[in-house]
């Protein structure tokens, strides 16, 4: 299934929130892109790596009760869209707090956590989640 390479390939981005920045227009992308959707050909070869601070604010969120098998043991969990200070918005869980404390607009920072229970190959995946500031 190629499960292993699927996970290690992205680990740098998931562990350190590695984004990239278009050398033509300056827009920051996470996950990284080989081509800037605004600059197209002008951006090719000019997308430069950029490590994000992991700080941002909650755009919106939900508390998930019905989850796929690898997340069942975490139920209920809070899933949010976070707008990072450098520009990109990403999807991640909010942890270390009760869902009732979560609000749109609240500040968060990234923390490094275990994400899924296991893939088909039984490995544990790590990456970012977010905690209220």
């Amino acid at each position: 299934m190629g499960e292993l390479s699927r996970f290690w390939r992205e680990s740098d981005h998931r562990y350190r929130i590695m984004a990239n920045k278009c050398g033509n227009c300056g827009k920051v992308y996470f996950p990284i892109r080989d081509v800037c959707p605004q600059c197209h050909r002008e951006s090719i070869g000019k997308m430069k790596p950029l490590e994000l601070t992991g700080k941002g604010e909650i755009v919106s969120f939900t508390i998930v009760h019905e989850a796929p098998p690898s997340f069942v043991r975490q139920r209920p969990y809070t899933l949010a869209l976070i707008k990072l200070d450098e520009g990109p918005t990403l999807t991640g869980q909010i942890v270390d707090t009760d869902g009732s404390n979560v609000e749109i607009g609240k500040r968060v920072r990234a923390v490094f956590r275990r994400i899924g229970e296991d893939g088909k190959s039984g490995i544990i995946q790590y990456g970012y989640k977010f905690a209220l500031e």
Partner: protein, 389 residues
């Protein structure tokens, strides 16, 4: 000078629901044969077949759907092309659109489209992981996102920014169930009250079970022909006036807005322009309300209401006797959402409505139907306008 107009001349489908006793191929063949019989042609007349399906590869372990359908429909030795079209939950609309283009191009005169999904061949919440393949697996689903969770994230932001109450979302589901109770093929036959819609088990807050389309098995099929073929063979049909498809970012977090579906706006604009029509011309709409919130967002992005104002339609206007009946079939919530079949099923409903054969759920004076099919959280939208004669 010949026109290259395209007509729908036949439609058929299985019952939608949890059909334990039926396999993927049983469903596809049943719908396909019904459509061909309904069209008044023979399977030997079909020149190309499009199968639409989303998840058979991971749910049923079956790919090569085009061949499967052709083979078990008994036309393997006709040696006609048979391919599968996949565009996630918009596979059905995409397949009908390919059929439309095949005829418009002049290459074919008779095209069959069969959409099928067999979703109950998998245990419990494993199907949720498979459904999450409609999303960006690495950057959404990996972190615990499901289609329902992302719809809920849109819903919360929408309700806050426009001060819309949860009741307005629930009304979409109430309407779907009311219409489905009149559709013999629907997954659910029960009407629900607003109270029931508001107080069901939570799935992803603020959405509950009654905001979410179910896990459904089913198949729908249609036959499309050129105007020339239709007239030469003294057949009767419903015209596909326009067809449009549009694309947006795959992941919700990459989009410009959590509640404006740019792909739907673009496809709708294109479909209305090509058809020379406007939203007020439409007699009924079948929209892709896989989650109740999408019903409101889509009504806005299709041009039926201003942004944040679809709640003004859900009380009266979208009912069967209302100004713009929405989802007379029962919609994705209550007719059901067998992904690859869903978009084709919208054409089955439109065919019945426009032929005045929709029985108890018949829209009065139905002239133009708008059909909207969408992939995932809005990455692809397909809009067709049918009818007119």
């Amino acid at each position: 000078m010949l026109s290259n107009n395209v007509y729908l001349i036949g439609a058929g489908e299985t019952k939608y629901g949890e059909l334990w006793e039926k396999s993927l191929r049983d469903l596809a063949v049943e719908a396909g044969l019904k459509a061909i019989e309904n069209a008044g042609i023979y399977s030997k007349d079909v020149q190309i077949l499009y199968g639409s399906n989303s998840l058979a590869g991971i749910i049923n372990g079956q790919e090569n759907i085009g061949s499967l359908i052709a083979d078990f429909s008994g036309i393997a030795t006709n040696n006609i092309p048979a391919v599968r079209i996949e565009a996630s939950s918009a596979s059905g609309g995409a397949a009908v659109r390919e059929a439309y283009l095949a005829i418009r191009s002049g290459e074919y005169d008779v095209v069959a489209v069969g959409g099928v999904e067999k979703m109950t061949d998998i245990f419990g919440n494993e199907v949720l992981d498979m459904l999450s393949s409609l999303l960006d697996r690495e950057w959404e689903a990996f972190f615990g996102a499901t289609p329902a969770a992302l719809a809920a994230i849109s819903a919360r932001k929408y309700m806050k920014d426009f001060n819309v109450k949860k009741e307005s979302l629930a009304m979409m589901s109430v309407n779907d169930h009311a219409n489905a109770s009149l559709n013999p093929h629907s997954h659910y036959k029960n009407k629900i009250t607003l109270d029931q819609a508001m107080n069901a088990t939570s799935v992803a807050e603020p959405l509950n079970l009654m905001d979410c389309s179910p896990i459904t098995d089913g198949a729908s099929a249609v036959v499309l022909v050129s105007e020339e073929y239709m007239k030469k063979n003294k057949l009767d049909g419903v015209r596909i006036i326009s067809s449009a498809i549009s694309q947006d970012y795959l992941a919700l977090h990459s989009r410009n807005s959590l509640y404006t579906l740019d792909s739907t706006r673009a496809a709708a604009r294109d479909a209305f322009m090509k058809g020379g029509l406007k939203p007020s011309d439409i007699s009924f709409a079948e929209i892709h309300d896989s989650y109740s919130i999408y019903g409101l967002m889509e009504l806005e992005d299709l041009g039926f209401a201003a942004k944040g104002k679809a709640n003004t339609l859900v009380e009266e206007d979208i009912k069967l006797g209302g100004r713009l009946p929405v989802n007379p079939s029962g919609g994705l919530k209550a007719k059901g959402n067998p992904l690859g079949a869903t978009g084709v099923g919208q054409f089955v409903e439109a065919f019945l409505q426009l032929k005045n054969k929709a029985d108890k759920r018949q829209v009065k004076d139905a002239r133009y139907g708008l059909l909207h099919n969408m992939a995932g959280t809005g990455s692809t939208s397909i809009v067709h306008i049918v009818g007119g004669e």
